[in-house]
């Protein structure tokens, strides 16, 4: 089977190629498309790599993916899952009248050679297993579904190309960068997360101090970022999905979308005044206490033990 894979980010590209080598039969041929150099792509199982350094927008990305997929007779097209790529994937699928499986976390071939894939649905409460009966299947795949492994040693042909000339139907007139956490939330080992239980923005300093002592970062639930705008990013289904060793939810009620974002956490601690809060019930350790009394005390204890 021939597969075309795309990501601007070489790390994501080699994760996807690794996943394919691990799950699909050996007659696989992988055609990669990216923006920058990839260190020994053949080791990660990529047979041919198209590098397009000046890829400027989603329409050019879409055009090059379509071109490579068509020329390589790919039956499967996989893009790294992010907001722009989900748009590109849906549009390619529409053009090809193809099935598009969003955020695929696992795949295999059925006995009849068709693709079977799984994805999370219902706010990550369930896994849907889908069979594709499409001539070509389009997918997006999230990061970290496998560790990249440099063990296939196929010879990789590398070609440098200019971006295709295409007409953009929308025009970007301005771009504002968001101020983001210094460590990506997905990579953080400890996350201290604040919710509506905090009365003022200044009070979040407590959470920052706690995070600092524990060597972690701060984050928040959706209302804190989306409604109150105290933070720029939030944890949850529509925000970041995280998997730290320790997740401390302070004053977060625990809406189902929030819980879906922390499924990968090893240990979850909830601190909430309300013993009935879903967050308390969905934690490994649920502390029923007033955060304004509990957190300062917790910080004090941690400080005194670390200086001993």
């Amino acid at each position: 089977m021939h597969v075309t894979i795309f990501s601007e980010n070489p790390e994501a590209l080699i994760e996807i190629s690794t996943k394919l080598r691990e799950t699909l039969p050996s007659n696989l041929k992988i055609y990669g498309i990216t923006k920058v150099e990839v260190r020994s792509p053949g080791d990660y199982g990529i047979d041919k790599l198209h590098i397009i350094k000046d890829l400027r927008n989603i329409y050019e990305a879409e055009a090059i993916i379509e071109k490579v997929a068509k020329e390589s007779y790919s039956k499967l097209i996989i893009l790294e899952s992010n907001k722009n790529n989900r748009e590109i994937a849906a549009r390619i699928a529409a053009k090809l009248n193809a099935g598009y499986i969003a955020d695929c976390i696992d795949l295999k071939l059925d006995a009849d050679g068709s693709i079977i894939a799984s994805r999370m649905i219902y706010a990550s409460k369930a896994i849907e297993t889908i069979k594709s009966i499409s001539d070509v299947t389009v997918m997006t795949m999230p990061r970290r579904i496998t560790e990249p492994k440099a063990q296939w040693k196929v010879g990789c042909e590398i070609v440098y190309e200019d971006p295709p000339k295409v007409e953009a139907k929308t025009t970007i007139i301005d771009v504002k960068r968001k101020e983001l956490s210094a460590i990506p939330l997905e990579a953080a080992e400890v996350i201290v997360s604040v919710g509506r239980g905090f009365k003022r923005k200044e009070d979040c300093k407590m959470a920052e101090e706690l995070a600092k002592i524990l060597g972690g970062v701060t984050a928040c639930s959706r209302p804190i970022a989306a409604d109150l705008k105290w933070f720029n990013e939030w944890i949850g289904l529509s925000g970041h999905k995280v998997s730290p060793k320790l997740y401390i939810a302070i004053g977060i009620s625990g809406a189902i979308q929030h819980l879906a974002g922390i499924q990968g956490a090893k240990i979850v601690v909830a601190i909430n005044k309300d013993a009935e809060a879903p967050m308390i019930k969905s934690a490994d350790y649920g502390v029923v206490a007033d955060l304004y009394e509990f957190i300062p005390k917790l910080i004090e204890k941690l400080k005194s033990t670390s200086t001993k």
């Binding site: 907001k83 989900r86 748009e87 849906a90 549009r91 699928a93 529409a94 009248n97 193809a98 099935g99 598009y100 969003a102 955020d103 079977i116 649905i121 219902y122 706010a123 990550s124 409460k125 369930a126 896994i127 849907e128 297993t129 889908i130 069979k131 594709s132 009966i133 139907k169 929308t170 025009t171 970007i172 007139i173 301005d174 504002k176 960068r177 968001k178 989306a226 529509s238 060793k245 189902i256 819980l259 240990i267 979850v268 601690v269 013993a275 308390i280 969905s282 934690a283 490994d284 350790y285 649920g286 502390v287 029923v288 206490a289 009394e293 509990f294 005390k297 917790l298 941690l302 033990t305």
Partner: protein, 256 residues
């Protein structure tokens, strides 16, 4: 200005329960509701109409019960509602988009078509984009604000690391995020009036579009996330802190 809004009646996931033994999601006893983000799309359509005049048409593909969300849309202020009755059983996003695009062509032209960025139950974020492609019009995804200037629509796209301001010539399809607005609550009188309003219904099987799904769901299995559920309560703050710290040290997630 002719505005259309595509609305899905979705599973109210917050009320979904699993069979404790088989982990099968108990879908048939779970209530349905208007997908939250589609509600934002409808609200935005109403606001555009309030500012620029025109008409708002709500469209939904679904079983007989999908009429409920269309009545709700009318109660919120939509002028018209069209129900594409799914009379052929489970279909995928390809078929849904084909049907929506066909109706939008039939009932249009619409200058603006709004959708939620994704549905709250399946989260595939593809129907809006597919519909735009079928109609051959521009698509702006993840809009957290929309303004109209002359023949153009300008929107702020909310991406992971940046906000992109983009413009496109109308007609345009826009998918919105939940941050774009706070939807209004329908008035009781409007709810009563909406109950009487006839809703145009067309059968999905009668549409001259490709009705063959490309994807087929084989199974849906619930996931059990096992948490320890240790409760630390009714302790003086001092003791509660110690209790928590001892546990976290034992778990090896903080260092002593």
């Amino acid at each position: 200005m002719e505005i259309a809004v595509c609305i899905k009646q979705a599973l109210d996931v917050s009320q979904l329960k699993m069979d404790p033994k088989t982990l099968e999601p108990l879908i048939h006893v779970t209530p349905m509701k208007m997908s939250d983000i589609d509600r934002n799309a409808l609200e935005e359509a109403l606001r555009i109409r309030e500012k620029h005049g025109g008409k708002v048409t709500a469209i939904s593909v679904g079983g007989d019960k999908a009429k409920e969300v269309l009545r709700e849309a009318i109660a919120m202020g939509a002028d018209d509602a069209i129900h594409i009755l799914n009379d052929i059983g489970e279909v995928d996003e390809h078929v849904i988009s084909e049907a929506l695009a066909e109706i939008l062509k039939m009932k249009g032209p619409f200058q603006i078509i709004l959708c939620g960025e994704m549905s709250i139950d399946k989260y595939t974020a593809q129907v809006g984009v597919r519909v735009a492609e079928k109609l051959g019009i521009p698509c702006i995804t993840y809009a957290r604000s929309i303004s109209i200037e002359g023949e153009e629509v300008i929107a702020e796209r909310d991406l992971e690391d940046r906000i992109e301001m983009v413009k496109a010539k109308m007609p345009t399809l826009i998918t919105v995020t939940r941050e774009i607005n706070t939807p209004r609550l329908p008035q009781l009188i409007a709810i009563l009036r909406a109950a009487k309003k006839p809703i145009e219904t067309l059968n999905l099987s009668q549409l001259k579009v490709d009705l063959k799904s490309k994807l087929k769901t084989l199974s849906v299995k619930g996931i059990e996330v096992k948490r320890k559920g240790v409760l630390i309560k009714d302790l003086p703050v001092d003791k509660a802190v110690d209790e928590l710290l001892n546990n976290l040290i034992r778990e090896g997630v903080i260092k002593r």
